[in-house]
Structures are given as structure tokens and as C-alpha cells.
């Protein structure tokens, strides 16, 4: 992305508009290669108990250096406000940054967010000085509430996590983007490159994905595809698409025809 088109959230400048998760890869080498190929600068990680039984097991951060990447801890797997707060605070104590991707999950089957809990948890964490990036649904009103409590960006889903269904409700997503003044990162549900490009064409500031890359037959190739898709979508958004018309408009002049 060109320098003048950097994404800025809470005063932090991001080189890449593609953000990626680090789960579901075969091993750390594949994780590292795919993330390298994606060109992503932000990588999300989960917060879990350290394996104290097998200390020979390797650490993800040996493969993704915090000097090179912005490590974004999430509260994945948290179903209550209390749980999400606990994980967010632990993530900060582990000492990477004040940024947290806040998830409060409301339903096991769909992994849809519990938006009431999300707003409540966001409010508390913002007061504690966190930079809260909330995983939310595509509801514009909820997005506004999240901004009201101090979130410097919102991360609505395109479709259920890991579903690969693409953008299921493009009009809501567009309304959401027009309803808030903060960057909107489309998070979850992207299945292939065109989905990511579409999200960017609608005006998303970025796209976060994991399964679409990690679950592809060739994750490294898909990571590269996503890099170009996000880039192309962003350029198209800035360029401004032509209006849709029902009938043809000739591209070649009639003048000079025999």
C-alpha cells in the first residue's frame, strides 16, 4: 500500500490492511510462511495456559517476532464479560501491548458475538486504558455503541467465523461503514480472495481472516492471493466504481462509421 494510504487506529500506523490469525495451521513453519506471503503486519494470537508438562514444545512467538509483527491478543473462547476481562488483562500483563481484540461469544454453534456483553466489556477495558478492537456483528447500531464507549475501530463479521460464506449482508455492512467514523475491519467469514476484495470495495479499512488462508489446500498461495485481493479492493474503492446501468453505453464513438 502506498505511504499516503496508511491505516491508522488510535495513533498506531499499520502498513498492511490485511490482518491474519495464527490458528489452524499444520505447524509453526507453515504459519510463518503463510503470514510472510500475506504481507500482513498484524497477527492475532490466543491467550492460553502455558504448557508446563512439555517444555520442549516450541513457542509461536519464536516464529513470529514481536519486533516484526504487531501481535494482537484476542479473547477468543470467552463467553462472559468476566472471562473476557480476565483474558484481556492477562494478555496485557504478558506484556505485548495495550491492544486487544475483544470477543465475547454469545452462541456456541454460530460463534456470534454477545453484543450486550461486548459493549459492557469494551467500556470497562477502555477505562482501564486498553485499545479495544471489538469483534461484533454487522449491526450498525451496536457498532455506534461500541464507538460511543471508546473503541477506536470496529470489527464486524462478514459471516460466521470459519464458515467461508463471504459477505452475507453487504447492505448492512455498508450502512455500518457509513454509520461510524472509525475504521471498520471486516472480521470473519471470508472464504476466498473475491470476498476480501469486495469487503474492501465496500469501504472496509481492512480485513481480518484466519481459516480462509489456513484452511486452503495451499495456505501460502492463498495468503498471497489475499494480499493482492485486499490491495486491489482498496485501490478500486479509492478509484470509485462506475454506476450500475441497465442498458449498454457504447465505449466506441459512433462518429466516423461507414
Amino acid at each position: 500500500m502506498k505511504d499516503e494510504d496508511r491505516l491508522t487506529i488510535a495513533g498506531i500506523e499499520f502498513r498492511s490492511r490485511l490482518w491474519v490469525g495464527t490458528g489452524k495451521y499444520k505447524d509453526f513453519i507453515e504459519t510463518q510462511k503463510a503470514i510472510e506471503a500475506s504481507g500482513a503486519e498484524v497477527v492475532t494470537v490466543a491467550v492460553r495456559r502455558v504448557n508446563i508438562v512439555d517444555r520442549k514444545s516450541e513457542n509461536l512467538l519464536d516464529y513470529l517476532s514481536p519486533q516484526k509483527y504487531k501481535i494482537l491478543p484476542n479473547t477468543a473462547g470467552c463467553y462472559t464479560v468476566e472471562e473476557a476481562l480476565r483474558y484481556a488483562r492477562l494478555a496485557r500483563a504478558a506484556g505485548i501491548s495495550d491492544m486487544v481484540k475483544l470477543e465475547v461469544i454469545g452462541d456456541e454453534k454460530t460463534l456470534f458475538p454477545d453484543t450486550a456483553g461486548l459493549i459492557e466489556a469494551a467500556k470497562i477495558l477502555v477505562k482501564e486504558g486498553f485499545i479495544v478492537l471489538p469483534y461484533t456483528n454487522d449491526d450498525p447500531v451496536v457498532a455506534k455503541r461500541l464507538v460511543d464507549v471508546g473503541c477506536p475501530a470496529v470489527m464486524p463479521l462478514a459471516a460466521p467465523i470459519g464458515s467461508g460464506l463471504g459477505i452475507r449482508n453487504p447492505y448492512n455492512l455498508k450502512i455500518l461503514m457509513e454509520s461510524v467514523k472509525v475504521p471498520v475491519i471486516v472480521d470473519a467469514g471470508v472464504g476466498t480472495a473475491s470476498d476480501a476484495a469486495l469487503a474492501m470495495e465496500y469501504g472496509a479499512a481492512g480485513v481480518l481472516m484466519n481459516t480462509a488462508i489456513a484452511g486452503a489446500k495451499d495456505p501460502i498461495l492463498m495468503a498471497e492471493a489475499m494480499k493482492y485481493a485486499v490491495w486491489a479492493g482498496r485501490l478500486a474503492y479509492r478509484a470509485g466504481r462506475i454506476p450500475r446501468k441497465l442498458y449498454a453505453t457504447a465505449s466506441s464513438p459512433i462518429e466516423g462509421m461507414l
Binding site: G21, A46, V47, R49, A76, L90, A94, G95, E103, M209
Partner: protein, 73 residues
């Protein structure tokens, strides 16, 4: 003396510090957070904090995860 570390019972010596426990477990402390009896213990207190019988210690780090449920360590 018996404590619980990440849900597992563990025998430790009297007067052992949190820092000493981490080093015994082979854990580099710059990448983890420690919760002692549900309260986060700041890194600067690892050395001076001595463990007591029945303490519940959680040692937390980062693992691969991005969307939804992360992988269990």
C-alpha cells in the same frame, strides 16, 4: 508444600518464589503473565513474591489462534 499450577498439583519447597517456580518450569518470564489466586501478579514482583501452601498459580502465554476458539496449548 502443595500448590496448583495451571490446574496441576505440584510439590514445591517452602519459601519458593514465583520467579524460582518459573525457572524450574523452564519458562522465560518475559512472554508470560502470572495470575496468583485469581489476581494478576506484575512481573516486577515475581522475585519477591513467595508461594504459600494451597496457592493457585496460572501461567499464561500466547498461542496460535485468530478466529473464534483458539487452539488449546
Amino acid at each position: 508444600m502443595r500448590i496448583t499450577v495451571n490446574g496441576e498439583a505440584r510439590e514445591i519447597t517452602e519459601g519458593q518464589s514465583v520467579a524460582s517456580l518459573l525457572s524450574e518450569l523452564g519458562i522465560q518470564d518475559e512472554r508470560v503473565a502470572v495470575e496468583l489466586n485469581l489476581t494478576i501478579l506484575k512481573r516486577e514482583y515475581f522475585k519477591q513474591t513467595l508461594l504459600r501452601d494451597g496457592d493457585r498459580v496460572e501461567v499464561i502465554g500466547f498461542i496460535g489462534g485468530g478466529r473464534g476458539l483458539g487452539y488449546e496449548g
